[in-house]
């Protein structure tokens, strides 16, 4: 097992538009500065692939600024990309526009390391983060730019509706009357570096990734295994790699997609793994506020987790619609909570059965 290596997050940025009706302002509850708020709520422009590319480019520049990194610096930089339906979505409109974004990003940001595209459906973002950790661990690169992007187009919307995964009214994770998820556009960028190789004096460590676990359901391409065995194994492996006790974890950013089965399985897995401590954990679903950003979700939710840890506030799970006696943990319905925790976990579950848990340690920014 890999010993925890403290892979550091030195910059991040995202671009989402609330994909769901809700009563909460994400930017307020996760402590955005006013400039971040205006940048981050700029709608993802999916009117053309060029405009969408511009959104991605701006988001990466903002993350690089935060990390005090310049394009073409002395560092060896790798680009790890996560996307799910994106290429198909633009093919839907224009078949000439496949394989457009990654080569352009490579030349714009003068990538001198590896360029890797991960696609494990809705777990793509988390897969890309895991790949980045491994690249940093082997010292193949000094810096990894991890980018996740996806858009809500006819392909996922139509396909997921037919599979019964979309909500009938609005996404209500862990509530009794939940009917499915809501899709949303999203771009998320993380700048990751090795703890031992950060030389820049002005660089801040916003969070450290200290463990991950990846396991597969081997059950059904679109349906999770009701036993939740793979998610449980992933969670156990992540905590083992982080070398912490379950009591040290204070908060879980759940996958919380709002589907009947998914929320139930995730709840049962948390109960199985954390036992009595499960009832003391703070749990929420960022999808209840921003919607499901598909391939970008893993990265966007890691960013939200980092921000919440740093401002010691956990955002609410929005759209509560009835108490579910089986989903009886502390999901933080309807109100923010104050929490100072050193460790948090973000879960990602994707079509294809990939289950990923990532353990985050609070950074030195408060």
């Amino acid at each position: 097992m890999v010993k925890s290596k403290n892979w550091c997050v030195t910059g991040f940025s995202m671009c989402t538009v609330a994909g769901t009706e809700n009563d909460f302002d994400l930017n307020q509850t996760v402590g955005c500065t006013s400039s971040q708020k205006s940048d981050w709520t700029t709608c993802v422009d999916q009117s053309s692939i060029e405009k969408f590319y511009d959104c991605i480019e701006k988001t990466i520049f903002r993350a690089l600024d935060m990390a005090k990194l310049k394009v073409g610096s002395k560092y060896r930089v790798s680009l790890i990309v996560a996307s799910n339906f994106f290429e198909n979505s633009f093919l839907e409109k224009d078949s000439e526009h496949s394989d457009y974004i990654v080569p352009k990003l490579k030349s714009r940001f003068k990538i001198n390391g590896l360029v890797i595209s991960n696609s494990t459906a809705c777990a793509s973002g988390a897969s890309a983060i895991v790949t980045a950790c491994q690249i940093l661990d082997e010292k193949i690169s000094d810096v990894c730019i991890v980018v996740g992007y996806d858009i809500e187009s006819e392909i996922p919307k139509n396909g997921m509706r037919r599979l019964g995964a979309l909500s009938k009214d609005r996404i209500s994770p862990f509530s009794m009357n939940r009917t499915g998820t809501d899709l949303a556009d999203g771009i998320g960028v993380l700048i990751m570096e090795n703890f031992s190789t950060i030389e820049r004096k002005d660089a801040k460590i916003y969070s450290q990734i200290v463990g991950y676990g990846v396991n597969n359901d081997a059950y059904n391409p679109t349906s999770p295994n009701p036993s939740g065995a793979a998610l449980l194994n992933g969670l156990k492996n992540a905590i083992k790699m982080a070398n912490i006790s379950i009591e040290e974890v204070g908060y879980i950013n759940a996958h919380g997609s709002g589907t009947k089965l998914n929320d139930l399985i995730e709840t049962n897995v948390i109960k199985k793994n954390f036992k009595d401590h499960a009832y003391k954990l703070f749990i929420n679903s960022s999808k209840s506020i921003i919607g499901h950003t598909l391939g970008a979700a893993g990265i966007v939710e890691i960013i939200i987790t980092i921000m919440q840890m740093n401002i010691r506030t956990i955002h609410p799970t929005a759209n509560f619609s009835g108490y579910d006696s089986i989903c009886d943990l502390n999901y933080n319905f309807q109100k923010s909570a104050v929490l100072d925790t050193m460790y948090a976990i973000s879960n990602s579950i994707g079509f294809g059965g990939t289950n990923i848990s990532i353990v985050l340690k609070k950074g030195d920014v408060t």
């Binding site: 839907e92 595209s117 082997e138 392909i155 597969n216 990939t354």
Partner: protein
């Protein structure tokens, strides 16, 4: 450091899943059929591996093109898009062949899916070795598929039995190459450097490794 050896390699071309005697009620994209088959072929003689310690990484440049085209055609032509086939939708997602191969072969460990050509296959092979070296998995299968061809190889921690190719080192940055030791029955080692051509199909690297192996064991 020599820690991993490729112990089994297979490839399929124009494989007919249904003609193979496999009973299934649903249509499976050709790429997924080949992915299931070649993954199963390299695992055929597998003994006592915990499913949670067995992993699969897939690589593809184009994904399941037939399903994707079919689904897009339906979206563009049907008056009501809701009637577009959900089977085509699911199989247009690029990691679904990986998913089907994990289900059919009971692979419950680390899984990942890369998009790209031969260079992505080399990066995937590097990740396979990383996972074995760091004890995240005991055995890993790497399967690359594109169009009408699919190739798989199995990598495991070095044992005395069935040595074929020992992975020596990767150069992922400058040359995109792989150094391997060829080992014959007399334990004679001969080092070969495999250079990876960018923009080639994902399975090309595995096919190249197989041809090197055949040439040297003739």
């Amino acid at each position: 450091m020599i820690i991993s050896n490729i112990s089994s390699m297979k490839y399929s071309k124009e494989f007919n899943f249904y003609g193979y005697g496999y009973k299934t009620r649903t249509r499976i994209d050709k790429c997924a059929q080949m992915c299931i088959h070649t993954t199963a072929s390299v695992l055929k003689t597998e003994e006592n591996v915990m499913p949670e310690r067995l992993g699969l990484i897939t690589v593809t440049k184009f994904g399941c093109t037939a399903s994707r085209k079919s689904y897009l055609d339906q979206l563009n032509s049907l008056p009501d898009k809701r009637f577009a086939s959900p089977k085509d939708f699911v199989q247009s997602i690029s990691n679904i062949p990986n998913s089907m191969a994990t289900i059919e072969n009971n692979i419950m460990g680390f899984t990942n899916n890369f998009i790209g050509g031969s260079e992505s296959t080399l990066i995937a092979l590097w990740q396979v070795v990383y996972l074995l070296k760091n004890n995240i998995a005991d055995k890993m299968v790497l399967t690359a598929f594109d169009n009408d061809i699919c190739a798989s190889l199995k990598v495991e921690k070095q044992t005395d039995s069935e040595k074929k190719l020992e992975i020596v080192e990767f150069d992922l940055q400058e040359k995109f190459s792989l150094k391997i030791n060829l080992v014959d029955e007399m334990k004679f080692k001969n080092q070969v450097e495999v250079n990876v051509q960018k923009n080639s199909l994902a399975p090309d690297l595995i096919l190249k490794l197989e041809s090197i192996l055949k040439e040297n064991t003739r």
